[in-house]
């Protein structure tokens, strides 16, 4: 997991240690520094730390988790950036149906209407590039940004391409899924998936489908974030031979309370 030094200092203004020292201390604490490179970010010279996050620290697969670790080491005060959401216009809760109740620990979703998608600003493209992620469009990029920042993956769907409500189910009906990048995956009819009333929308915790993919014309968005039974996500990913940044995180025990802050952050960035 990579960490940008300037972002760390933003979260921990009291931090006086140099990037090298932070790397050394994190190494001693269990997150080994396996790369430290001088980078240019937003026109300023910066440092990118690359840390080995072993299987017991899924909380450190996000910048916030790493910042908390650094704060704990140095005894600094850590404050979560404040997120303010506008009041929802509808009192009624969005219709999402969790039918695979035993396999899902937490599911949250928001509906947003009248959103304008476009290409991402330079800072976001630059940021994602540091992590080896290509920029697609603003909405998708923000979802990736929040995943890198909080450690919680999310998924955005174009509501106009959906029929009916968003449902989490155990796959019985669908034999294949066309993923976001166009490849077709054969399914075993035992995976945990997201679907609407007609078609399959994605492999839960792993990858989204092309059917409701976000493009530049998208105006109405459903944003979902969920925590699953990690064993199931791992089994599905292994048997279908897919590994994604999302699956790597959801295969481990993530905090079911995490989507409270993380999804709200994503929504506030979009709006």
């Amino acid at each position: 997991m990579k960490l940008l030094y300037s972002q760390l200092k933003e979260l921990l203004p009291g931090l006086k240690a140099s990037p090298k020292e932070v790397g050394e201390k994190l190494t001693l604490a269990g997150l080994m520094l396996d790369g430290l490179s001088a980078v240019n970010y937003q026109g300023k010279s910066d440092w990118l730390l690359s840390l080995e996050v072993r299987q017991n620290r899924a909380d450190c697969l996000g910048v916030l988790g790493l910042a908390k670790e650094v704060a704990a080491y140095y005894g600094l005060r850590f404050k979560l950036p404040v997120v303010r959401l506008p009041q929802p216009s509808q009192k009624k809760a969005t219709a999402i149906r969790v039918e695979a109740k035993k396999q899902i620990k937490r599911a949250r979703a928001y509906e947003m209407t009248g959103v304008t998608n476009r290409t991402s600003p330079a800072w976001l493209k630059e940021f994602l590039k540091l992590y080896g992620i290509n920029s697609i469009n603003l909405l998708v990029d923000l979802s990736n940004y929040v995943m890198l920042f909080t450690g919680f993956p999310s998924h955005l769907l174009d509501q106009d391409k959906m029929q009916g409500s968003l449902r989490w189910t155990m796959n019985k009906d669908f034999g294949s899924l066309t993923t976001l990048d166009g490849s077709v995956i054969k399914l075993n009819r035992d995976e945990i998936i997201i679907q609407d009333d007609q078609k399959i929308l994605g492999l839960a915790g792993i990858v989204g489908g092309l059917a409701a993919a976000i493009d530049l014309k998208t105006h109405n968005v459903v944003a979902e974030m969920a925590i699953y039974d990690r064993v199931l996500v791992r089994r599905n990913a292994r048997s279908l031979k897919i590994t994604t940044e999302a699956s790597v995180r959801l295969e481990k025990d993530l905090d079911p309370e995490g989507p409270n802050y993380a999804l709200d952050l994503l929504i506030s960035l979009i709006l």
Partner: protein, 344 residues
């Protein structure tokens, strides 16, 4: 009082030792430095003339110098004895009209294992062995690595019949067998070959070697673990080696420790061997997780243990300047490296 310059003394001693052609001459030179009327002794006698705060430091330097010159003399002695016997044999062979075939030696990994075995035997450890074709039970489950657990991803296993039969990925599989088959107090080491699904290239192979150590006693602490590992490294790499211990997660230990050795190539400054880090990862260690003891039928409230597992190949390669790991498993090694042991 003569000026004390340990590095120039050491250089002088080495030169004199190297230039001595006979064993008798060697004894003479050694006596001049190390003997009761020797140079080092004379410096010791002069310690009383130093200001109080310098005495301890001088004493330590002298002890180190003595160790180093002793090691140099031993190495030269070995060189001379081998050289003499090989030379004599060759001369005799020539007389008889044939060419002496090149004399080989034990594989450097075998040499290292034997040396470590001797070291640990003298500490009261037994040497255990176990199967290379292993079961999921002893290779993973008994090590607190359940099926479908993310910690399974820390290694890429070669299966014979998934998921039950595989080639062991670490010598820890023999640790679990040792815990199951013997009652504490226990002290054993396990040298062995291990297998992981790795792409074969200059620095990685799917076949490599581990050295495991396990101690289960009534009382054991991290200090005992660190002391044991320090002792091991000093024996392999010389008295000046620097080791650090950092937090490192492994499911089979809690707390988990990663022993790192300071890069001998750059003394910690950073170079191509240690990828700029200055420290080299040597393996894993820690206090044995109570789950392992419980699964072996050992009461974790009465017994505590430590365990360590170190990779042997890369360090044997570094020590003998072998640059390609594939050489370790080929036949070309017989004539290509030194049999004299050079401490770092």
């Amino acid at each position: 009082m003569a000026e004390f310059n340990p590095s120039s003394i050491k250089t002088r001693a080495k030169t004199e030792l190297d230039q001595t052609p006979s064993l008798a001459g060697l004894e003479e030179v050694a006596r001049r430095y190390l003997g009761p009327q020797g140079l080092i002794r004379s410096f010791f006698k002069e310690i009383g003339q130093l200001p109080e705060k310098e005495r301890k430091k001088r004493g330590a330097s002298l002890n180190l110098l003595q160790q180093e010159i002793t090691a140099l003399a031993e190495a030269r002695k070995k060189e001379l004895s081998q050289g003499l016997s090989e030379k004599a044999l060759r001369a005799e062979a020539e007389d008889l009209g044939f060419e002496l075939p090149k004399i080989g030696h034990l594989h450097p990994i075998t040499q290292t294992i034997r040396r470590l075995n001797q070291l640990f035997a003298s500490l009261g450890y037994s040497i255990l062995d176990g199967p290379e074709i292993e079961s999921d039970e002893f290779c993973f489950r008994r090590l607190n690595i359940p099926p479908d657990h993310p910690s399974r991803d820390m290694q890429d296993t070669l299966y014979i019949k998934e998921p039950d039969f595989l080639l062991r990925t670490h010598t820890s599989s023999v640790e679990t067998r040792g815990l199951a088959n013997h009652r504490p107090p226990l002290k054993f080491v396990v040298p062995g070959r291990v297998y992981r699904n790795e792409k074969v290239n200059k620095s990685n192979h799917f076949i490599f070697h581990h050295y495991q150590g396990v101690a289960v006693l009534e009382k054991v602490s991290l200090k005992d673990l660190f002391g044991t590992i320090d002792y091991l490294f000093k024996n392999l790499y010389g008295p000046r080696v620097k080791v650090r211990y950092r937090n490192k997660y492994y499911p089979e230990v809690e707390p988990g420790v990663g022993p790192d050795m300071q890069c001998f190539n750059c003394q910690g400054k950073g170079c191509s061997l240690c990828k700029g880090v200055g420290w080299i990862e040597m393996g894993g260690a820690g206090i044995i997780h109570p789950n392992l003891l419980r699964m072996a039928g050992i009461d974790p409230k009465k017994w505590r243990g430590f365990a360590f597992g170190l990779g042997l190949d890369r360090w044997v390669m570094a020590k003998y300047k072998i640059t390609d790991i594939r050489t370790l498993l080929g036949g070309n090694l017989a004539y290509q490296y030194y049999t004299n042991e050079k401490t770092l």
